[in-house]
């Protein structure tokens, strides 16, 4: 339960921190930390415009997307407290339920019959498809390292295994999860939420026709997704056995650091050319395979 509440709480501040960091980095005064939340409140109050072409799919997709992320967050533990729902190989469920959300967002984009949105949809479909192996191999590596197969067990046991090497995996895990989070949320270097040209967009171009309530739901989905991945990153970077108050503090710090990383990356890095994205994403799979091989070596299987 704590895990879920913390995810929801941190998702409130997450986008604000990114925004602040970006303002500071570009030397602007910028909006306050609560601005994204205020934007969402404004969106909830706005009237809706729908395309004549769209159907029920377009109306229900934002709800499905949001629910998918909420369901995925039920599986995330916090510290040594197991998640609300935990079972063997629950990360398979985690990944597939997020995919369900994506499925609906993609068909909702196609529902409008717009060429631009079709373009975003097929990019989203391709990139999320080639991101998945990296996540699965990483979790396979973790379950091999710890001997357990659910998020809750893996994270509780993570720092109890060979303590000399566990830092390496923690680092690799953090790196890969940050990148996956960036891709899943359509951020740098794969996508740029602030781009002004529809032809170079991915996620933003998919939701061109959404307005009001639906748009608010979509924004909430993105922020929650960030917080979910932040929570995963926290779980592999901090041992589960530590004092609970310290954990709470560290959770805030890790989420803030993650948000700042996103902000800093977006301020100082150029985005990839669209053609380069598949290579970039497949590199993640390669890195997770390397991690996997390293686990095999340290577990003494390769002699």
């Amino acid at each position: 339960m704590t895990g879920l509440l913390l995810i929801i709480l941190s998702s409130v501040f997450f986008p604000g921190i990114i925004l602040r960091i970006k303002s500071i980095a570009s030397g602007r005064k910028g909006p306050g930390i609560m601005q994204p939340v205020k934007d969402i409140i404004v969106l909830f109050r706005k009237n809706n415009v729908f395309s004549d072409t769209s159907s029920l799919i377009f109306q229900i997709a934002p709800a499905v997307g949001l629910t998918a992320v909420l369901c995925s967050s039920l599986l995330i533990p916090f510290a040594d407290k197991p998640a609300l729902i935990n079972f063997d190989s629950d990360f398979v469920y985690f990944s597939y339920i997020l995919a369900l959300g994506k499925f609906f967002m993609i068909i909702a984009a196609l529902d409008t019959g717009s060429g631009f949105e079709g373009m975003g949809a097929n990019r989203e479909a391709l990139f999320s498809m080639i991101t998945e192996p990296a996540f699965f191999i990483l979790l396979g590596t973790f379950s091999m390292l710890t001997g357990y197969t659910s998020f809750s067990d893996i994270f509780t046991q993570f720092y109890m295994s060979d303590s000399d090497f566990v830092m390496i995996f923690s680092l690799i895990g953090v790196y890969i999860l940050i990148q996956i989070a960036m891709i899943e949320n359509s951020r740098f270097p794969v996508d740029d939420p602030k781009t002004h040209l529809e032809l170079t967009m991915i996620h933003e171009v998919m939701i061109l026709d959404n307005s009001g309530f639906d748009k608010a739901l979509i924004h909430i989905t993105t922020y929650l997704k960030f917080a979910v991945y932040g929570s995963l990153i926290y779980n592999i970077s901090v041992p589960a056995g530590w004092n609970i108050y310290l954990q709470l503090l560290l959770f805030a710090v890790v989420q803030a650091l993650f948000a700042s990383t996103v902000g800093i990356l977006e301020s100082f890095r150029a985005r990839n050319r669209m053609r380069k994205n598949p290579d970039f994403i497949l590199t993640l799979t390669a890195i997770s395979i390397v991690a996997f091989v390293v686990v095999i070596i340290i577990r003494g299987k390769m002699i």
Partner: protein, 662 residues
């Protein structure tokens, strides 16, 4: 009851003499009777009896033991066959109606007769252990399905496809026959019973491969799949549904039956099955993405799903070889459940594709679009079918894939080097298949049912009649039942697997699996309730707001039309670019103007290749034709030459005998 079956077989011939408007009902009656009988057998064998049900049909004919032998595995397949065949026949009632005006009565008689016999041969295939009887049933299955495929034989390509199918099925049958003959050597029994004896004394791998070639041709493993993407689109949709849903599973049944008797070489056999399945799975879905014929796309997806089933079987065999019983049980169970799942969602999807074809007269998705407004129920069914086939929770496809995944992840911790790599390769393969399926079905659903119509074909489209929707909704109920109350199905399946493959002594771990499955179901329910809740809140909120409708946002361009939409080809474009080394998509473009003085219309073409078809069928065919053309020099047409040939032949035979060479 066995007499009833015999009577039914006898009565089936009367289909030809029944009045035209009663034919359908007569066939339905026969079908229902047999479904009832065989379902009772299946239920007995799965739930009540510990030993297989044995039924003698014809006592002691030619000293052959022509008796039905229904164990738990047969019982499971019986249920799968029964359900899908019944749904298919209900769907056929209205689907065939437009043909009533243009076709003779005889073609309907043949069609119904073949359908009934396809059904009968399938239930007999899974019940018969004896070799000759099995081969006869296998042959009847091929022949009746051939007759069903060529229902529209006046179309020459369909006839050609049918012949191609028939030839390939016979090649498969020859492999099975050879394998049975080899296995007969020690025991003098022709049939599955001989396998135990043969396998315990000889090397298992070679014989298994021969069996695999035979059964794999039916199942459609790559590279034995080339008949499949041709035959399925050619057949009427209810036939495609039955063929893809259950008939190709007869191959899987055969492989499982053989696997159950294996004694040694398990590891290499497992690797063999696993690698073929991984290739089938990944390549099947990759080739599916580039298709724009809706039924062909679904046919390629059958190959993918056969791949997933094969991955389950493969890791099942490997698990047995490594004494990892849990991996084995979960692999086989996942495979078996996926057999059921695939029979459900694939037949559902074929029904929907059939309804689209029925209503718009085209199955080319490039000409469709916006059908959700005209055919909302078909669209909803297709959507649910797509979600299930992608393996997304809370639908049934996820449960079977989860079983396979969880077996692999659980075994990952305690294995040696090779096993770790095998498991990670399989996990990666399965993940890729999942992602690609998602890509493919967002495309298929989006392009067919969403957006604006891409041609005039959809103008006259309207929702199909209720009779055609009923099978779909019944299948959907079962899909949701498996997805949300999985234990009803996983429990018996675990039982079937442990008994068929002799894996037992793991009761504790099953509780683990059951526990996980229950939690998945609970999460599924939470998901559905939350979606409903959010959607309800949204409706309430929107009621207080002003909702306006307008054209789709065109980014400032106001003259957008339906031709500006993404098409099937353009949606798959970034993928085909990435997969070019494998798919070899070729594009050609003639731009406006060109060398002419006045501009002409621009043309863009893209063509996809099935490289296996090219290498296994097309190139050898061309080679043989080339050789035969050269040999045709001998065919002079002059009688004296032919007499010379005969003389040379006799002379050669004489000489060879003289030197005792023959």
């Amino acid at each position: 009851m066995q007499n009833l079956l015999l009577t039914g077989i006898f009565l089936s011939f009367f289909i030809f003499f029944i009045p035209k408007n009663m034919k359908y009902w007569y066939t339905l009656l026969l079908l229902l009777t047999h479904i009832l009988i065989s379902s009772i057998w299946a239920a007995e064998s799965i739930f009540y009896l510990s030993s297989p049900v044995s039924i003698t049909i014809i006592p002691d004919i030619l000293n052959y033991d022509f008796s039905l032998h229904i164990d738990k595995l047969s019982g499971f397949f019986l249920i799968v066959i029964n359900f899908t065949s019944l749904m298919g026949f209900i769907y056929a009632y209205k689907y065939l109606e437009p043909y009533k005006r243009i076709k003779f009565e005889l073609s309907f008689s043949i069609h119904y007769f073949s359908y009934l016999w396809l059904y009968l041969s399938m239930i007999l295939v899974v019940c018969i252990q004896d070799g000759p009887a099995f081969i006869i049933m296998w042959e009847i299955m091929a022949l009746s399905s051939f007759m069903l495929v060529i229902f529209n034989a006046e179309n020459r390509t369909i006839m050609k496809t049918g012949i191609n199918y028939l030839i390939q099925m016979h090649i498969g049958m020859i492999f099975i026959l050879i394998a049975f003959l080899i296995a007969e050597k020690d025991s003098n029994i022709l049939g599955f019973r001989s396998l135990d004896i043969y396998f315990s004394e000889h090397m298992n791998f070679p014989l298994f491969v021969i069996f695999f070639l035979g059964f794999g041709l039916k199942a459609g493993f790559i590279p034995l799949h080339t008949w499949l993407p041709q035959a399925h689109p050619a057949a009427p949709s209810h036939v495609s549904a039955v063929m893809s849903g259950v008939m190709i599973k007869m191959g899987i049944y055969g492989i499982m039956r053989v696997t159950a008797s294996l004694h040694n070489d398990l590891f290499s056999i497992g690797i063999f099955v696993l690698s073929v399945s991984l290739i089938s799975g990944v390549l099947g879905v990759m080739m599916a993405i580039t298709q724009h014929d809706l039924k062909k796309l679904l046919a390629y997806h059958s190959i993918e799903n056969i791949g997933i089933i094969g991955i389950g079987v493969g890791i099942g065999i490997i698990g047995t070889s490594q004494n990892m019983t849990l991996l084995s049980v979960l692999g086989y169970s996942g495979a078996l459940l996926h057999v059921l799942n695939h029979s459900l969602f694939k037949s559902l999807l074929f029904f929907c594709a059939g309804s689209v074809l029925h209503s718009t007269k085209t199955k080319d998705v490039e000409q469709l679009g916006g059908l959700i407004k005209k055919m909302p129920y078909t669209a909803a069914l297709f959507l649910f079918g797509s979600l299930s086939i992608c393996g997304l929770p809370p639908f049934n496809g996820f449960i079977s894939e989860y079983l396979i995944y969880s077996g692999m992840f659980k075994s990952l911790a305690n294995t040696d080097l090779y096993m770790s790599f095998i498991l990670v390769a399989s996990i990666t393969g399965l993940t890729l298949i999942g992602g690609l399926a998602l890509f493919c079905f967002t495309k298929a659903f989006g392009v067919t049912f969403l957006g604006q119509p891409r041609s005039g074909k959809t103008k006259t489209a309207k929702e199909v009649s209720t009779v055609m929707l009923v099978p779909g909704f019944m299948i959907l109920i079962v899909i949701l039942l498996i997805g949300l109350a999985s234990s009803i199905f996983t429990g018996p399946i675990l039982l079937i697997v442990t008994e068929t493959f002799n894996l037992s002594g793991l009761q504790n771990n099953f509780d683990d699996v059951r526990n996980s499955i229950t939690k998945i179901n609970v999460t599924g329910l939470i998901f559905i309730i939350t979606v409903a809740l959010i959607y309800y809140v949204r409706r309430v909120v929107l009621k207080t707001k002003i909702v306006t409708y307008g054209p789709t946002w065109g980014c400032g361009y106001t003259a957008g039309n339906s031709r500006h939409q993404y098409t099937s080809t353009s949606f798959a474009d970034n993928f085909t670019l990435l997969a070019k080394p494998i798919l070899r998509t070729t594009k050609s473009m003639e731009s406006i103007g060109g060398e002419n003085l006045f501009p002409e219309s621009a043309v863009f073409r893209s063509k996809n290749h099935d490289i296996f078809k090219d290498f296994i069928i097309e190139y050898p065919k061309e080679f043989i034709l080339k050789v035969l053309k050269k040999i045709a020099v001998m065919q002079t047409g002059q009688i004296n030459h032919y007499i010379l040939y005969a003389f040379l032949f006799i002379l050669g035979a004489l000489l060879l005998t003289y030197f005792k060479l023959i």
